[in-house]
Symmetry: D2
Subunit: 153 residues, 4 copies
């Protein structure tokens, strides 16, 4: 059905992947409406491949923000542990979780929620840049924001 010996379709930015010890070559999702998370195949009956990708990005951002907020940031202290910053992180994690949820259930309202999610992610990225030492979180927020903007369009 698909043979990609010469031109593997690599999803994502090479710059992001380059810092990861992994080679991920995935076939087009548009065929099977299947999403890959780790080694897991997820069949999603409600969502297009583009939406699947957005769900992936939102859940990755959720994990990154939540994990950093309750671990890294509190340990760093200072600006990282200020209320304003942590509230941003928690808000971003929560809206990403919910944007994913609406996409998973195939809600017609998913685009509206993705639009808000994109705004919050974008601002969280800026906030994380301001604080510094949050590169992975910045990348996750930007990726999620970009995907959500596409869904919202």
């Amino acid at each position: 059905m698909f043979t990609a010996p010469l031109q593997p379709r690599i999803r994502g930015h090479s710059s992001l992947l380059s810092s990861v010890n992994t080679e991920t070559v995935l076939l087009p999702l548009s065929v099977s409406h299947v999403s890959i998370c780790g080694n897991r195949r997820i069949t999603v009956s409600n969502a297009s491949s583009e939406m699947q990708s957005c769900i992936d990005d939102c859940l990755a951002c959720y994990r990154s923000c939540l994990s950093m907020a309750t671990g890294h940031c509190l340990r760093m202290g200072g600006k990282h542990a200020e209320e304003q910053h942590l509230t941003h992180m928690h808000a971003c994690a929560e809206i990403c979780r919910t944007a994913s949820h609406l996409m998973v259930i195939g809600s017609k309202h998913a685009p509206s929620v993705c639009a808000v999610c994109a705004e919050i992610c974008e601002e969280c990225a800026k906030e994380c840049e301001r604080v510094g030492d949050m590169d992975d979180c910045v990348a996750a927020c930007r990726q999620s924001a970009e995907s959500c903007r596409k869904m919202a369009a």
Copy 2:
């Protein structure tokens, strides 16, 4: 197609992957505490690689159950759309989401929640087998149950 020169650590069952048009070869997570979801790298400061894998499994199960419950099952009707079945699916989705959450924040209570999650996932797998035509969901539930049992131990 892809050849990892030395010793590619392939995560996951080949039987699961074999039905997917993809080649996923990942290096050991234990080095970097990084999780891969799609093309996304997630740095998780609170979780070991085994825990990361469990989070992946739980979120995959969450997506599978929720998506099937609100799409596939309602469209199928009959046994698939009965209250008992759908409640199982929604309960499983929710506890998987929360088990993930506690692992992501690095809670000491994660193992207790994973223990309950394992039970619910296992029973959801059986329930999905009973109803039939839910193979992907059964696989996701089993995988999540297995990972959660390890975390709970």
Copy 3:
């Protein structure tokens, strides 16, 4: 302070309260930022009384939609059990839960999320009216929509 012989504006009922060892007479919410849910006093450091009220409304709507979707509607069958209707209900429940979350944590993004929440609740109310026999849910959606519009303004 309380004299309601003729027109009791009594919330709850004595048999419930009688089993609770509590006497709760509260000052205006605007003073103490306290919310009442059942017989419980909730001190909320992040939210004004108007916001508390909106959180109450959103959580009430979440409970109503989720409960009806997984109980009443599936039992009724027919239009009540159609995918479109149930997806509306689940989407409304989820966004209400998240709007509450952002208000509880005092996020500056709460108004944006409340704006989307208001839209989804309003449409869910209409959807429930269309299907019929969903009066309590319609009321909960309308109340939540109204409160969210105020927060969004």
Copy 4:
């Protein structure tokens, strides 16, 4: 501290109610399966009155823990802002939210989740006592723990 002249067992206060165009006199919950949250009547088809009360307690605990964690505790600093304490608070908030969810959907697994929830709430109460200046949160955790233990039994 409390001097109710005649012994009104009134929940809420007149200024809040006066702005609500509602006259709500409710029958015993055991008959109608209705819960009161603020001035809102919630019809819940899946849950007994005891379960309704437990949902109220869990959601109150969720709000208290989440609100204190992202507001009060970060502002207090010191022990209040330590990772251990905040992780407790966030874990407690999350499991309370999920215990509520399983009760709302009428899941047979609600008792198992309530059992874990009771443990986490109880320990969160102790943790909050250790840190001090968290009285409302301690009370909310204790109340939720107690209700959850009953549900789990």
